[in-house]
Amino acid sequence: MNSVKEEIEKSGSKMSSKTSQKIMNVVFVFSGILTLLILIVIIGYIVIKGLPSLNLNFLLSNPIDSGKSGGIFPMIISSLYVTAIAVVIATPLAVGAAIYISEYSSKGKIVDIVRFGAQILASIPSIIFGLFGLQFFVISLNLGYSVLSGGLVLAIMALPTIFQVAEVTLSSVPSLYKEGSYGLGATKWQTVVGVILPAAIPGIITGVILGLTRAISEAAAVMFCVGSAITTPIFITDPGRPLPLHLYVLATEGVSMQNAFGTAAVLVVIVLAITFITNYLVNRYQEKMMGER
């Protein structure tokens, strides 16, 4: 029988393992660069094309001629309304559910069911939320075409996002902290409020921001609920038109490509700014916590 060495020489492999390693290294680096390029091209294109329209007047004035010219002030207010409603309603529900799952439930059926529920909710296509919002909030609950109806739909969409992040964060709080608190005779709720939540706050905020970004970017789910009015909503029962929906209408109905670029740029800048600012704040909070310990 040949030795391994002889056998390797005999088979004289088609391509040496070192050559294929080198080729793959190039392929890998290329894939990374390509992904980066996609992002740069899209954001760069939108921002550069939208920049000429970006001025205070565009941001603070009403649209003229259903968006042919003028600004996007009502859309900014609509976006603020629906997003705020979504976050205010979804956050307590999601964080409450996460606290229940990570601290109060004995691991078992109910945990699996709630987690699976969140998974389902996160996977349902936004257009189905749109159908549901129309039939339930607008028609059955008679909330009408309003930023309230839109906000409620977005709350349901943001719910699983916030829940999933909050649950991971809560369950990764070291049991050392919890034991320390129980050891002092604290009740469960005291421990949750006094020890667990403060330690988990950065993660929970990240979850809320992710939910918020999902809400502020969404158009399909709200298109049948908010009424698509181009007036500024004053009360939550007024109709409105959030930025993504405005962009969709401007672009598909060919109203004004210049204003569409402006709207897209505003949307992109808002989302990027939210993401970067939160990342920065969360990192700083974590450093501060570490420093004090």
């Binding site: 890998f28 996977s123 936004s126 189905i128 969404e218 049948f224 672009a251």
Partner: protein
């Protein structure tokens, strides 16, 4: 004693919040199914599902072209997105040095954060005209939709695959290097197979996102309700069908659009069950190995 009543009260409130999402799911299902039901019952389930013609003005509601349309754009998107995202995930998890990894992570997160209408708008202004000048036709096509969807599902597949690659125990890598394997051999023969269940989950999740995407597709797909003849032909998906016509639909037309939603919902549930099955089976395999 007050303490324990208070605790019980708090526990019940938290339980209600935990069960809220389950309640909402049933509510959504109830409303969609109830409104969609007449389209199945009065119009006929198979006539609806397999009908080749969609003509609301004459009360003809066949969604088969849209089912085909959804499948076409989804698979074309996967075809483009899977190779790139797997390479990128492997690059980030196994090959790239730490500083490049730290740099790429926010890139992927930002890609995931861009609103879908912005992707659609980009497709409308950049991809569609390029397709038109290069391949002819209107440019509104499966091809353009697939490109936009592929970009949109990149971050999903990359981040899930990357997580499962990272979860492969380091001892496998050491053992393979210890035998004189190269990095690429170790990835291809050990790490990738071990991470495969997670990678499959990521691909299915990306698939779900592609099937469920609405407005970005409407903006680039052309939305003609017929079975497309080529990859450069316009196409209408299940989601677009709902979004395009919901604004003015009444009567049976209204029900038919909800029924389209029912089909979409069922497809997504099936995909979700598959991912859960894959994950559970994978965990059992590992559990059996620790004996």
């Amino acid at each position: 004693m007050t303490n324990s009543t208070e605790e019980t009260g708090i526990k019940s409130i938290l339980l209600i919040t935990a069960l809220f999402s389950i309640f909402v799911i049933f509510l959504i299902m109830a409303f969609i199914f109830v409104e969609g039901w007449p389209a199945f019952a009065d119009y006929g389930f198979f006539k609806f599902l397999l009908g080749l013609k969609w003509d609301p003005n004459n009360n003809i509601f066949g969604v088969f072209p849209m089912i085909v349309g959804s499948l076409y754009v989804t698979f074309f998107a996967l075809l483009l997105a899977v190779p790139l995202s797997l390479l990128c995930a492997i690059f980030m998890a196994e090959v790239a040095p730490n500083n490049i990894r730290k740099f790429l992570k926010p890139v992927i997160e930002t890609l995931a954060g861009i609103p879908s209408v912005v992707y659609g708008f980009f497709g409308l202004m950049v991809i569609v005209p390029r397709v038109r000048t290069t391949f002819g036709g209107t440019g509104f096509s499966i091809f353009a939709s697939g490109i936009i969807l592929a970009i949109m599902i990149l971050p999903t597949i990359i981040s899930v695959s990357q997580d499962s690659l990272k979860a492969v125990p380091n001892s496998y890598r050491e053992a393979s290097y210890g035998l004189g394997a190269t990095n690429w051999q170790t990835i291809r023969k050990i790490i990738f197979p071990a991470a495969l269940p997670g990678i499959v989950t990521g691909i299915i999740l990306g698939m779900g996102r592609a099937i469920g995407e609405t407005l970005a597709v409407i903006m680039v797909a052309g939305n003609v309700s017929q079975i497309p003849s080529s990859i450069f032909a316009p196409v209408r998906t299940l989601t677009s069908n709902i979004a395009l016509e919901m604004g003015y639909a009444t009567g049976l037309h209204y029900n038919a659009l909800f029924a389209t939603g029912v089909i979409l919902f069922i497809v997504i549930m099936i995909l979700l069950l598959i991912t859960n099955y894959v994950q559970r089976k994978y965990k059992m395999d590992v559990g059996g190995g620790t004996l």
